[in-house]
Symmetry: C2
Subunit: 87 residues, 2 copies
């Protein structure tokens, strides 16, 4: 009936996404990239550190545009192992 809490797997997934975004930022400062992507530096920092585990689609899209990385690439890399549910 309510929104369920994030699972440990979802937390991990968010951390991995953050690591990739941080790596893509390279030597640029958080302030510069966040401003270019139209978000606050605090938000970008929390995404990079995984404290925002399930950020909004358009937030990541804006970041990917600024950082010149592919959204599909990010999604695939962040969700590595599909549970492979048996039929």
């Amino acid at each position: 009936m309510v929104r369920p809490p994030l699972t440990p797997e979802e937390r991990l997934r968010g951390e991995q996404l953050g690591v990739m975004l941080r790596q893509a930022r390279g030597a640029r400062s958080i302030v510069e990239v966040a401003t270019a992507a139209g978000m606050s530096a605090e938000t970008l920092r929390k995404i990079e550190t995984g404290r925002i585990a399930t950020p909004a689609f358009f937030t990541i899209a804006a970041l990917a545009d600024v950082l010149d990385v592919s959204l599909d690439h990010l999604a695939v890399r962040a969700v590595p192992a599909t549970p492979a549910m048996p039929t």
Copy 2:
């Protein structure tokens, strides 16, 4: 100091994303696609109708995977005109 309300532009952007996802779903039922993507049917319906304007990145990623569409494609199409800020 607080999270600002969604702008009309963000609402529109969400609606456009919904339209694209709906089109990609084709003849498949909401229940089938939502289940395959690991979310409730109600949530998918709200995304398609734009009532969830800024869905989570991994939510859209799961949908894009099931529907076999590109996240980059969705992002570009949903945010068509960059404001073209003058230098």
